[in-house]
Each structure stands twice: as C-alpha cells, then as structure tokens.
C-alpha cells in the first residue's frame, strides 16, 4: 500500500533548527514572510498532496495517458487535481509578484516539490515543467515576452515544456537539426522533430508554451550555434487572449516503464511561429541559467520517491507477520513477529531513512544558498553561495535520484512478493523512480560535470566552498564531547575525500579518461561525506535540545545519525580503494574481449 503523510515535523526541524543557523533572516528580510507562516503554507500544501494527489497516483499509473489524433487525454482525476492545484496558487510560489506570483524563497518550493513527488511524481511533472519554462523566460526573455507569457504561466492557465531532445540528439545537444528561419517581422519559423517531450500535449491547460532549442540557417557548428525559442501551441494576441493555432502537433506518445500519467511526446514543428528567447546563438546560456534549478528539482523527485517508499515499507514492516526474532520472540500474542524485528529489514529501513533525511538537509541548505545568491548584496557572501550551489547541483541531482531508485528497490524487497505484484503500488514507485537518473542530464553526465567542470573551475574555488566549511567545522568541534561518536567518522571520510580529490585533480590534467572513469565513484563519495557533515550538524543541534524533547524527536535524530555514520559513511573506504586503483583495467581492456563469450 502506498502510504504517505508529509514529514512536516522533519520540515519544521529543518526550518527552525537547521536552516535558521544559516542566514534565514536575510532571506526573509525582503519578503513579508516569517517562520510561522511557513508551517501554515506547508501544512496546506500537505493536505492537497495527501488528499488529492496521492489517491490518483496508482490510478494514473494503471490508466496512463491516451493518444488520439494529436490529442492527449490525461488519466481520470488529473484534470480536476490540476485545477485545484493551480486555483490554489501553488504554481506561482516563487514567481515574482510582478507577474502574479508570491515571490517566496526558492527553498520553500523544495518542500512543496518533495511532497508532490512523493504523492504523485507524474502529476508533478506538469507544474514542474511549467516552472522550468517560467524560470527560463524570467531570466532570459525580453520584457515583451515576459509580460505576455508569465502572468498566464504563473497561474497555471498555460503550461510549459522544454524541447531539447531529438532522435539523433540526446546528451549532445550540438547535434540538433531543428531549424529556425528568421522572418521579416522579427519572428522565426521553426521546423523539426523533437522527441521525449514531457507534457508536450495534454488536456489540462488551455495553452501550452514550448521552449525549443533550434539553429538558425547560418549558425556556427555544434553547441555554439544553438538558440532558444518560445513556440506557443496557440499564438496569443497582444492582450493575452488566445489567437490562432500554431503549426505544430503531437505525433505520438511513448509507451514507457513508469511515470505513465505524464505524456512523453513526439513533437512536430512545421514552420511553427516562434520568438527568440535571449540572444541569438546563446541558447545554451539561456538553458544553463535555468538548468541548476531544474536539476535540483529532479533531485527533489528522488527524495520524494525515497520518502514514500520508506513510509510504505515501514507500514508493511510493522504489519507483516513472518518468523520470529532471533533473540527471542517479541509478540508472543501473535502467530509470528512483525518483520521489522529482523536485522536485514531494520537495516534497510534505516538506510533509506538516514539517506533521505540527510539528503533533505543538504538539499534545502543548497536551496537556501540559491536564495542567498539571489538576494545577498555582499559580493563575497554572494559568490560563496553561488559556488556552493554550482558544486552541489550535480551531486544532488545524481545522488538523490540514485537514492530514490534504491529506496524504491528496497521497498519492493521489504514487501517481498507483495512488492512485485501491482496491488500495493511498490513496483510503481520503482518504475517511476527510474527516469530521474536519466533525464535532465544523465547521472553519468552529472559526475563528469563535477569532475571535469566544477572541480577545476576558478582553480578549485568551488571545492573550497565545501572543503573549507567542513575543515573549519571539524577544527571547531574536535573537542565537542557530544559529538564524540560523530567527529572521528566524519574526519576519516573527509580525509579520504581530500586525498582522492588531490589524486583526481592531478589525473584530470594528465589523463582525462581516468578522471572521467572515476567520476561516478567520486560523486558518490562526495555525497556520502556531505551527508555525513549534515548528520553531524543535526546531532550538534539535537544534543542541545535534549532537555526539551517530549516526543524524543531529537533523541531519534541522534540515533539515526549514529547509524549513518557507522554503517553508511564507511563506504567511502571501498570507493577510495576503487578510485585509487586507477583506470588501467578498464581503459586497456581490449574491445574485442567484451563479446568473446558468445561471438561465433
């Protein structure tokens, strides 16, 4: 059974205890918001997610979207849920007031997105893609385009999409063949085929605004020739009312593994009218300014799936009676003990719980840095926040989505055969979670971004935003008696990360293939250490609260952290060993060896 209640108490802990230690005030200064308002906002959002989105999650998976002559029908209940969602104003959470939004801090949206992803990941893609489109338009488009499109997008009356992928052009966007011919009136005629376009066509909003990457006829080769265009399904008149239908259509939708309630569309553009967003040939720049946000949000999807997988697993582990505890039965009144007594089940639950809660802290801390980078006047502080976000984005996108899959996988395992059949919805979580490591830049690409771009950037300045912080923290707390079960573990793993970083930095210059080959392991190692740092800070906060802890919330935090520091963080040891062993045995491996076993 998919079981989910928004983890509001953890959110409150993060806001009141954890984020509050890091310039939350400066973020609230410019908005008419205070900490208590956040509770109310999150509780209202939680109601919508639990009562409206969760009940249609399994229906959406089973029914899926259907396609008929260019039209896409969403599953039962989705239209109504979308209407409720947008009428209650959630689409406009972070959008500027100027365009009808509420202009709330970015990190607040992370909590909302997590709740949506837990209760219905497919549903979340509709407003999610609109948010990406809003972000790209707000940051790069002309005033005219902003004024025409943003007010309707921020109310959700219109929805948005991102069109990058083409059959021959996935990770390598320079291979795009979509062409944009300039017209006399300053507009463009766009022609080409895009594939895998999430929510490219559907029946929830009255207009769909496509952001399309394309090349003008004489554009430079490859990635340097890409421009970004806004191509509406229905061309709006200058007053925002709907005008003529544009010449574009949805050719088909994909049959796929998961997120079945979200249509993945083939989009044909046949001389469709479009307008340039940002500068000519600077499409990638326009994409990049929204990319951090979009990638973090995909990371949040991983977190959301992990949370519902955890809650559902926990529910079952307490109900399912099988076998007896090895150290003596716990429930003699019952025919057997609940499976939560078995060590393997407990360890799996704790693994998911501690990874999820740790990641959540790293995620919202990074979200807060996005706000600080946007608002901070002090140049140095602003840069530090920007560096932190740039460094953590590939880490969070990729590690969170991996954790999402792993949590869903563990969920299926805890349910046993009842996880494999469809009734309980556990296999759906596994199928839904699997897309997140793929889209928005595959996790492999994220690891390359970390090692190849972020690591050497500004001669290592980005890395310093993390390394110096942890180093200072360890120095300050080396004699903190409370943290005696934390600091040694963090120190050890942090030392390993430093050692491997130096190793890779030198390799990166001499043998890029080796650095690239180590990148996925390195990203994982980095994530584990960063989360270890977060758990240590949780413990520090929690020890100071133990005398006022009626529900044992803080006591439980410390206990969870102990599990993480001793059972999960040490994986950095094996990752280090693997990285330091170098590239020889996969790089020098002859290609012809691969198929020797079956080649005739």
């Amino acid at each position: 059974m998919q079981v989910y209640k928004a983890p509001i108490k953890d959110y409150q802990f993060l806001i009141k205890d954890f984020l509050n230690s890091g310039s939350l005030d400066s973020v609230f200064e410019n908005s008419d918001l205070n900490i208590d308002d956040l509770s109310m906002i999150l509780e209202e959002a939680a109601k919508l997610c639990e009562e409206t989105l969760l009940p249609i999650n399994q229906i959406g998976d089973m029914e899926g979207c259907s396609f008929n002559q260019g039209n896409v029908k969403t599953p039962k209940g989705f239209k109504e849920a979308y209407k409720k969602f947008v009428e209650n104003g959630w689409q406009g959470l972070t959008v500027s007031k100027k365009y009808g939004g509420q202009q709330l801090p970015y990190f607040v949206n992370m909590f909302l997105d997590e709740m949506i992803s837990s209760s219905n990941m497919s549903f979340g893609l509709y407003p999610g893609l609109t948010s990406n489109a809003i972000d790209a338009i707000e940051k790069s488009a002309s005033e005219e385009i902003k004024n025409l499109y943003l007010p309707k997008l921020s109310t959700g009356e219109w929805s948005g999409t991102m069109n990058l992928t083409e059959p021959q052009c996935g990770t390598d966007l320079g291979l795009s063949k979509t062409i944009a011919h300039p017209q006399k009136d300053g507009s463009y005629k766009i022609s080409g085929t895009k594939i895998f376009i999430t929510c490219g066509e559907h029946d929830m909003s009255e207009n769909i605004i496509h952001l399309v990457l394309a090349k003008t006829p004489n554009a430079p080769e490859g990635i340097k020739g890409i421009s970004l265009f806004i191509v509406p399904k229905i061309i709006p008149n200058s007053d925002g009312s709907l005008g003529k239908k544009n010449s574009l259509e949805c050719g088909s939708i994909e049959k796929k593994m998961g997120i079945n309630a979200s249509p993945t569309c083939v989009m044909h553009y046949n001389e469709a009218r479009g307008w340039l967003v940002g500068d000519l040939h600077k499409g990638m720049k326009a994409m990049f300014v929204m990319m951090n946000g979009a990638r973090l949000m995909v990371g949040v999807q991983g977190l959301g799936i992990a949370e519902i997988a955890y809650q559902s697993s926990l529910h079952y582990a307490n109900e399912r009676l099988q076998g007896r505890a090895l150290n003596g039965s716990k429930h003699l009144d019952k025919v057997a003990d609940p499976i939560i007594v078995h060590p393997e089940i407990r360890k799996n639950l704790l693994k998911v719980k501690t990874l999820t809660e740790g990641l959540r802290g790293l995620m919202v801390w990074t979200g807060l840095q996005v706000d600080i980078a946007n608002l901070e006047k002090d140049k140095f502080k602003k840069q530090r926040a920007e560096d932190w976000v740039a460094l953590m984005t590939p880490i969070l996108k990729s590690f969170s989505t991996d954790v999402g899959c792993e949590a869903a996988n563990i969920g299926v395992q805890i349910y046993g055969g009842h996880g494999y059949i469809k009734d309980h919805g556990m296999e759906q979580l596994l199928r839904d979670s699997r897309i997140a490591p793929i889209y928005e830049g595959t996790n492999g690409i994220q690891a390359l971004d970390l090692v190849g771009r972020k690591m050497p950037m500004h001669t290592g300045r980005l890395l310093k935003s993390f390394f110096h912080e942890v180093k200072d923290y360890l120095e300050k707390n080396s004699f903190n008696y409370n943290l005696k079960e934390y600091i040694p573990h963090l120190t050890k793993s942090f030392g390993r990360l430093q050692q491997v970083t130096t190793f890779l930095a030198s390799k990166g210059l001499s043998n890029p293939d080796e650095a690239a080959g180590a990148s996925v392991d390195y990203l994982k190692m980095f994530s584990l250490v960063a989360i270890g740092y977060i758990w240590t800070r949780y413990a520090e906060i929690s020890y100071n609260k133990l005398n006022d802890d009626p529900e044992n919330f803080y006591k439980a935090k410390i206990a969870s952290g102990n599990y993480y520091m001793t059972k999960i963080l040490p994986e950095t040891g094996s990752l280090m060993a693997s990285i330091l062993s170098g590239a020889k045995y996969y790089n020098d491996y002859e290609n012809k060896y691969f198929d020797l076993a079956f080649k005739i």
Binding site: D32, D37, M40, I41, E44, E87, N88, G89, G92, Q102
Partner: protein
C-alpha cells in the same frame, strides 16, 4: 449582511487521543491541533454566501488559548475578512462560551451566526443552542443544506428520523453538519493575504463573563479494552448466548 462564524481549536481528527497518566485530561502537548471539522463547514458556507453576493462580511471569532489565533488565521486564509480572538483558558464550558459569544454578537450585530454542530473534542453539542436562547434568536441545528433569502433562511437538518426542512426568520443561529459542503483548501495567495487581515484581541474578562466551571471534572480515563470475540458455530448458539450470557435479548 454580516456573518459571524465561531471556530474552535481542537486536537486534529487524525490524532490518536492519549489520556494523561494522572487522569487530569487528554494529552495536548505536542499534539497536532486543527480547526474543529464542522467549524470548517461553517466557514466554508459563510464564504459561499458571501461569494454569492448575499453577504458582505465574514467575521471569525474564536475563544481559547493564545494558539487559537492560528485557527482564526486558517479561516482568514480560507477567505474570511477579519477575526476576533478572545483569550481564555482552554477548558471553558459551553455556557461560558455562549455568553461570551453573545457579548460579541451584541457589539458586532451580525445577521447570522454560523457554528459547527459540535466540537470533536468534548462532543458537547450545546453552544449554538445556548447562544440562541441567550439572544432570543431562531436556531437551525445540524444543517446539511442552506438557502438564504431576504429575511429568511431555509435549512435542511440531519436528524435521527431523516431530514427535516425548516424556515427560520433572521437573525438566526445555524450549526453546521459535515455534509453541508466540502471545505476549501486555503490557497497560497489567500494565506499570504491573511497575514495582513486584522485580528482584534480581547480577554474573556473584558466581556465580563463568569468562567467559573459549573461542572466538576473528576477524572478522565480510557474506555476499557474490548475483549476478544468468540466464534459461534450456529445461529442457535448465537441466540442462546445473546439470551443467556449477554442477556440482551
């Protein structure tokens, strides 16, 4: 037309109630609190009347501890116009609440008072009726449907025998049933707007209401645990057990 809606802050309906170890009451520390569910229906109905153009102001009143203000905020976030908060200790009895509400009605002069039919914490189901008697106004309790006309309100009541239709002269007290409507969620823009809506602060003493308890609370304890059932083999055995052991037939 002005509508006054009385709301109460109670333990959330999802929470499993725990009795305090010393029997002095139920645990409310660190327990999720929310607006009493039928009070949400009352707020919703008042907002619908306003949206239909038949009322121009919806005023929320709550009597209780400081935190009851949050409940008023929730109603304001649903769309009500302003609030009145009367500070008192949490366990004041229905008659005191009714007297305090009467004082508020005397100054506010609403045409209608909407309330929940009962609060899910003590299930008293008295305050609305008492307020009606104190004011000498008509009362329509357990309303599951409301139609408002010029000087008159038609309601459908949920009663044991079925549905009862009544016509009441205004001013009137209406207590609302859960079936009356489906309360809306507070929208994000309304949550933000609610922050700026005024809430007037009063003390129960300001209203000169005697809050001394009339009822002597002895002890709160949990109901006895249900004993394990037994399987019977035949109808005859069942009848005989009901006759001879349970002595219910």
């Amino acid at each position: 037309m002005k509508i006054l809606v009385a709301v109460k802050r109670v333990i959330d309906y999802n929470v499993q109630i725990r009795v305090k170890a010393d029997g002095s009451g139920v645990e409310t520390e660190n327990v999720k609190m929310s607006m009493n569910p039928p009070d949400e229906n009352a707020v919703e109905e008042a907002l619908r009347v306003k949206e239909s153009g038949k009322a121009n102001e919806v005023v929320i009143v709550s009597i209780g501890e400081e935190k009851s203000k949050e409940t008023i905020r929730t109603a304001l976030a649903m769309g009500a116009d302003r609030g009145i908060f009367v500070k008192s200790n949490s366990n004041i009895e229905p008659i005191c609440v009714a007297k305090a509400l009467k004082k508020i009605v005397d100054t506010e002069k609403p045409d209608l008072v909407f309330m929940g039919k009962q609060a899910i914490d003590d299930d008293c189901n008295q305050t609305g009726q008492m307020l009606s008697a104190l004011l000498g106004w008509s009362q329509g309790t357990f309303a599951s449907k409301i139609e408002l006309n010029e000087n008159e309100i038609s309601i459908t009541r949920e009663i044991d025998e079925g549905l009862e239709m009544l016509k009441l002269k205004l001013p009137s007290i209406i207590t609302c049933d859960l079936r009356l409507n489906e309360p809306r969620y507070a929208s994000l823009p309304n949550i933000m707007k609610a922050k700026k809506k005024p809430i007037q602060d009063l003390n129960i003493e300001d209203l000169e209401v005697d809050t001394a308890p009339r009822i002597n609370f002895l002890k709160v304890e949990e109901p006895p645990k249900r004993e394990k059932g037994i399987m019977v083999n035949s109808i005859e055995e069942l009848v005989s057990k009901l006759k001879n052991e349970a002595k219910v037939i």
